[in-house]
Structures are given as C-alpha cells and as structure tokens.
Amino acid sequence: MPRRSLLFLFVVALICLPVKSAHSAKYPGYPVQFIISFPPGGPGDTTIRIIHPALQKNFGGAIQLVNKPGAGGAIAYTYVKKAKPDGYTILSTMSAPLTVGTALRTLSFGLDDYEYIGAYAFGATGIVSKPDMRWKNLDGLLAYIKKNPGKLNYGTSGAPTAPYLTMAAILAMQGLKATPVHYKGSGPARNAALGGHVDFSAGGFGAMQALIRAGKLVGLAITDNARDPKFPKIPTLKEKGLGRASIGLWAGLWAPKGTPKAVLDKLSAALKKTANDPAVVKKLNKAGFRVEFVDGAGAKKLARQDHETSKEIMKAVGIKKK
C-alpha cells in the first residue's frame, strides 16, 4: 500500500512538473523557440544564426532555433500566429512575407496579428550587371532601355519578391519596358547576369557583394536609405529620385498577439544590446547586412510603410492581388 501511494505521488509530481515551471514567475523558465521561416542557409536564417550566441547571452536563457520553411514564409508566420502568447514561441525572420507577401496574396495572417519586438539587420535590393555591358551606371542603363524598349531581359529573385517589385516600379515610373525573368532566389538571378543569360538582375544585395568586390559584376544601385560604406560608389535609389521604389528588407523578431509586455521588453532589450555588440555588427556587415536596432513600435511603422509601398507599386505596375 505505501508503495502504491508512493508511485501515485511520483506520477502526480511528474504531471505537475512541466506545468509548474511554465507558470513559474521567472521567464524564461525553459528554452524559448525561435521559429525561422526560411530553410537553413537562407537570408533570414543566416542573420539569426549570426546573432544567436550573443542574443542568448544577453537574454539570459536558452534559445532554440527551429526552421519551419515553406510557402514563402506562410507556414512559420501562421504557426506563430496560432502559438500560445506565453513568450516561448517567437518568430525570427525577414519582413518580406508580412509586408510584401500580404500585399501580393490573400494569406491567413496580417500586419496586426503580431507583437513587434524589434528589427536589427537591414538588407537592400541590388541592381547589377556585367562590367562589359553598354552602360556603366543606372542612368546609362535606363537610357539604353529607353532607346531599346522591350528588348532587354532582367533577372529577378522571383515574382513574389521585393526586388522584382522595386525593379518593376523603377521601370513603370520612367515609362520604360523590359522583360522580367523570374529565378528562384537572389543567387540564381545573380548567376544569370553573371553568365550573360539576362542583361541585368535585381536581387538581394547581400548575395551580390562578393562578385561586385571581385569586379565580376557592377553594382548599379541599391535600395537602402544610405550608401553602403563598403561600396561607396554604388548610389541609392533615393539619390536618383527613385526612392519610392524602395521596399525595406529587414530581419526582426515577432511574438504572437497578446504576449505579455514584460516578455516583449526583455527580448527587445536583449536584441538591442546584441545589435550594439561590435563583434556581431562586424559579422552581419560581412554577410551583407546593415545593422541598426529599431524598437517594436518603430518596426511596426516600418512594416506598415513597406506594405503600403508594395501596394502602391502593384497598382502602378498593374499587378493584381492573388
């Protein structure tokens, strides 16, 4: 009899154990899962993996990185939207599915379904071509397209991506015509320009940097607010009066709607400290990102802005929401 009651107690203890720690006042009581909407090696994966060790230290708790790729990020976004808002499931990814994706498609999530923790790494769209083409800069390229309407092809990182929208917007704003050839991602789009299969390409700037430095590709323009200090010769679209074609590409953290403010603040503070760590900044720069901490409210504003720009571009270019 005592043996049986002992067993009973043991079972009760086992059942209570995880529940108790979940409700304990201390956060994080057990590892926090960061859901990444990209496969390993994608841009949104690389950024979080670079900051992961420092972020974990500043956060003071274990952070597990879990890739849930698929459907252009929709699987991870939906998963986190439906997750319990207890601070143990956090979305760590790039802004594009939320800002551009929801403009292009009817999806099961929207800008207001999440709490914004902050943004930390900013990428840009880069427009590149081979050095031996008939133009040397963006003005030259646009002038050439004007003289040869509809003759040129350009590679894009894919139909539902910001670089395509940006390039299409530039052409629409100038009343020019060129044919987009969609590739699967920035790497293949860049390779198409490198191999001379298309005349120029628009894609994530990070993917282009190694080849620009080696002189195998020329950077014609980037979309960021300011010139990249590593590539001071490449102008921004803003300088060219084409700033309205810029859509931000940034990495950030999101939590399910209703996550306690204390949790958001703790994560935001850890992210801020991490983004100010010179070693982290250096690594992110090398991987092709500009580092700047933007708090939750700021990130929400950025997202709204990118979303509106995407919708404007779609209207101007004549792309319909699917």
Binding site: P39, P40, T46, R49, P53, A71, I75, L211, K283
Partner: protein
C-alpha cells in the same frame, strides 16, 4: 605547378593541425552516422551543427560541415544495400543491385566496394577541385536555361533505359513523377497549383517524404506480408570482402562514375541525386551483360556510389570560387562561411588562403579517414541482417518518421510519407519501378523552370533551344539514344533484367 605544391603544403599544414584534424574526424564520423540513418540527411544535420560550430575557428567549423556533407555519401549506401531503404536520396540507385547482393549473402563485398569506390571518387574529385576549380566554375555559369533544358532531356533519356521491367511501366512511373513535380507554386509566376489551399503543398511535395515513403515504408509493408520469420536473406554471409573478380568488375565503373559525378555536380540543380542514376545507366549501357543488372552485379553498386561522392566535390567548386550554391547542402555550407564572417566567392582564395586550402586539403584527409572508419564497420553492418525482422521493422518505421519530419519540422510531411508508402506498396505489387518516378520528380521541376525561363528570354521563340552549340550537341546525343534500339535491332538489342520475383 610549383605554386600548387606550395599551396597544398600550406593547406595540409592547416588541415593536419591537431584541432582541425579532430574537426575533420568529427565531421566525417557524424556524416557517416547520419548517412546510415534514412531520412536524416546532410542538410538537416549541417543546419543543426551550425550553432555548435559558431564558437569554433572558421576553418575548423567549415572543415566539420564539409565532412558531414561528403561523409553522408559514404553512409548513405549502407541501408540501401542492407534494407532496400536509401539512407540518402543520392543512394536510391544503390538499392537496385546492392540489395540484391545482400539477399545473396554478399552484403560484405557490396558495402566494402561502396567504401572503396567512395574513397577513390572522393579523392579524384578533390584532385579535380585542386587542379581546375576556377576554370570549371566560369564554365558552369555560362550554361544558361536553354542548354540546361537540353542537358536535362539527355540525362532523362539516359536514365529511363535502366529501370527493370517493361518500358511502358517505367514511362508511366516517370510520368507520375513529372505530374507530382508540378504540385505547388509554379517556378516562374509563383501561381499555386494543386495545393488544395494548404500551405504544406504550396511548396510542392517534399522530396524526403516522397523517397522515404516510396522506398522505406513500402519495403516494410512488402516484408510484413511475408511469413513471420522473414529475414532479408537466409543462409550464410558469403565472404566480407570483394574478390579479385569483383575488383576487376568495379574498378572501371568507379573511374567512370567519378568523372560523371564530378562534372554533373558542378551544374546547378543536379546536386548529388542525378549523377548516380546517370552512372548506373552508363554502366548498364556499356556492360557485356546488361541483362544481369538489377540482379546484384557489383558494377551497379560501385559506379553510382563513386558518382555521388565525386558529385559532392564537384558541387563545392561553384561555392569556393564564385560563392554559388548549386544544391541545398551547399547552401548550408555557404551559411557556415557567412556566420563566420567569411564570404565565399572569387576572393576567398586570396583573402582567406588558410580557409580555402585548409578545407580543400582536409577533404583528402577526410576521405582517407572515412575509408578507415567504414571498412571495419562492414562486418558489423553485414551481421545486422541476421537480426530478426520483427525487431528491425519498428526501428525502420521510427527512423523513416523522424527523417520525414526533420527536413522542415512539419508533421504533415509524415502523413505524406505514409501516403507515398501506400503508393509505393501498390506500385511494387503491380511491378512498377519507383526509381523513374523519383528521378522525373527531381528533373521535372528544374525542367519546367528552365523551359519557361528560356522562352521568356527568347520571347517565345523555340529556336533558342538549338541556338547554342552545347544544347545542339545534347539534342543530337538524345536523338541517337532514342533511335539506337532501332539500329541495333536483331543484333544485340539490350535486354532488360528479369522482373523481380516476389
């Protein structure tokens, strides 16, 4: 040339440093282990390792990751041979003759020839990187969509010929593979197709659930319906090591497989999956006894296993010289470079010579370590077959489930695996081969993407497909292949292997 030796000497001085040597050993050890486990592939493992390696020296971290990548190709053949369950997607072809050898009690020689073939091909592949990496990478970039279309067609025709059984059945199976490859967002306009409004199917059918279901699950189902005391083979294990005759048969196959794998590995999209298929059909095509293929001939194991290993070396070339990832596994490797603040690309060799030459030379060492690691295991693996099947199959099912789930951490993939398991079971009952389906599935997506890109670039003109010399050459070769049986009629028309008796 003197430069090359100086570079190699420098490279070995880096890669043989105790810390890096240990990293290399760890990498190939983990690679072999996950290669053996079906489903758990190098992509998933390398991404799990990324956060661990972040605290290491960049060179050691990349050596470890690369070790997992090519190490997996060694282990991948093990379950293909023993259980008819491909440990890696690149070992699908190895099941055809490898499993038959195991059933005849020759699992030992099959496993040993895999280890040796992988070693030889891996070493030749690294030699290829050392000697001609930059030139080859430039060439690979020049191959555009129209040329790829022609090359894909040629590959497909080459491969369609090998599968056992009737040609119409192989064609039907391939057709199903093509159809399955159209599920998901279309590759150009990103319009969802056949996804039934679900997110899981929006990216198309996953490769892991398809292969694991079609081969692994269906094999278990087939075996379970046989008698309770089922074992993979009855009788004694006949010798653990390849005989002199085995060597005479496999050596040329290993050589040819190495070359095929290396050059195919450089091309975008081919990865390590297509080269073994090509090597197998090549061996069958030039063999004096093509009718024996599929009944357990050692060339059919040696060639493809060599091909998938040299393909890993080939696919490293675009990464190391241009920063381009031709396959998912190499994309993770790219991430490993980036997380350490090193940008792979044309400047890698001048900016980080220690990393470039250290990693390249570590691949020589790694392949040697893999041989030492795998040969002693042959005996152990071969004895695994004496374990009664009633203990084995629950384990196999478990690992299949883990494998299907772990690729994108999506439970629906496990369900898909079960569905494909049933499909595979029915196909085997009705004698439809599964390999053409897998190949068509892989090639189908790439084919559609490249055809449509070609036509957008050419403004809809079909001339583009023959406008490029390389493409034209591939078309002519395809035509010859198609017409070849008609010319050879009456002489020694190729026979197909007898259908597998149940």
């Amino acid at each position: 040339m003197g430069d090359l030796f100086a570079n190699l000497y420098f490279g070995f001085s880096v890669s043989l440093a105790p810390y890096n040597l240990l990293a290399c050993f760890m990498g190939v050890f983990v690679g072999t282990a996950i290669g053996v486990l079906p489903g758990l592939g190098p992509v998933a493992t390398m991404s799990l390792l990324l956060p661990i390696t972040i605290k290491m020296e960049p060179t050691a971290a990349i050596i470890i990751m690369a070790g997992v990548f090519y190490g997996a190709m060694y282990g991948g053949s093990t379950t293909s041979i023993l259980l008819n369950l491909p440990g890696e997607a690149s070992s699908v072809v190895t099941t055809l003759d490898g499993y038959q050898m195991a059933r005849q009690g020759r699992a030992g020689p099959a496993l040993a020839i895999c280890a040796w073939g992988s070693f030889i091909a891996g070493t030749l592949g690294v030699l290829g990187i050392t000697l001609m990496a930059p030139a080859l990478a430039e060439m690979a970039v020049k191959i555009g969509p129209p040329e790829l279309v022609a090359l894909l067609c040629l590959s497909f025709l080459l491969v369609v010929q090998f599968s056992g059984g009737s040609r119409p059945r192989a064609a039907a199976s391939a057709l199903l593979g093509f159809l399955l490859s159209t599920v998901g967002l279309d590759p150009v306009e990103s319009t969802p197709r056949y996804d039934f409004g679900t997110f899981t199917l929006m990216d198309g059918v996953g490769f892991a659930p398809l292969v694991i279901g079609l081969f692994g699950i269906s094999e278990v189902l087939i075996n379970l319906e046989k008698s309770e005391k089922m074992e993979v083979f009855k009788g004694r294990i006949k010798g653990l090591w390849p005989t002199r005759q085995d060597w005479r048969d496999s050596a040329p196959a290993i050589g040819r497989g190495s070359v095929v794998g290396f050059f195919m590995g450089i091309l975008p999209g081919m990865g390590t999956i297509v080269p073994p298929f090509l090597s197998y059909s090549l061996e069958r095509r030039i063999s004096k006894k093509p009718e024996k293929f599929g009944t357990g001939v050692i060339e059919g194991v040696a060639g493809p296993e060599a091909a998938n290993n040299s393909a890993t070396a080939g696919s490293m070339i675009p990464l190391l010289t241009l920063g381009i990832a031709p396959s998912a596994a190499v994309a993770v490797l790219t991430a490993a470079f980036l997380t350490h603040g090193v940008q792979p690309g044309p400047l890698l060799i001048t900016e980080h010579p220690a990393i470039f030459w250290g990693v390249v030379t570590s691949m020589y060492t790694g392949n040697a370590l893999l041989l030492l690691l795998n040969l002693p295991l042959v005996g152990m693996w071969a004895r695994l077959l004496t374990v009664p099947y009633r203990y084995l199959w629950p384990m196999i099912l478990l690992f299949c489930g883990i494998g299907a789930y772990s690729v994108s951490n999506n439970p629906v993939d496990v369900l898909l695996m079960a569905v494909f398991g049933l499909l595979g079971y029915m196909m085997r009952k009705l004698n439809y081969p599964g390999a053409p389906l897998v190949l068509a599935f892989v090639l189908g997506r790439l084919f559609e993407e490249k055809v449509r890109q070609s036509l957008v670039i050419s403004r809809g003109s079909y001339e583009t497909f023959i406008a490029h010399p390389l493409a034209l050459l591939a078309w002519i070769a395809s035509a010859i292949l198609l017409l070849y049986p008609f010319f050879m009629r009456g002489k020694s028309a190729p026979h197909f292997p007898p259908e597998e008796e149940e």
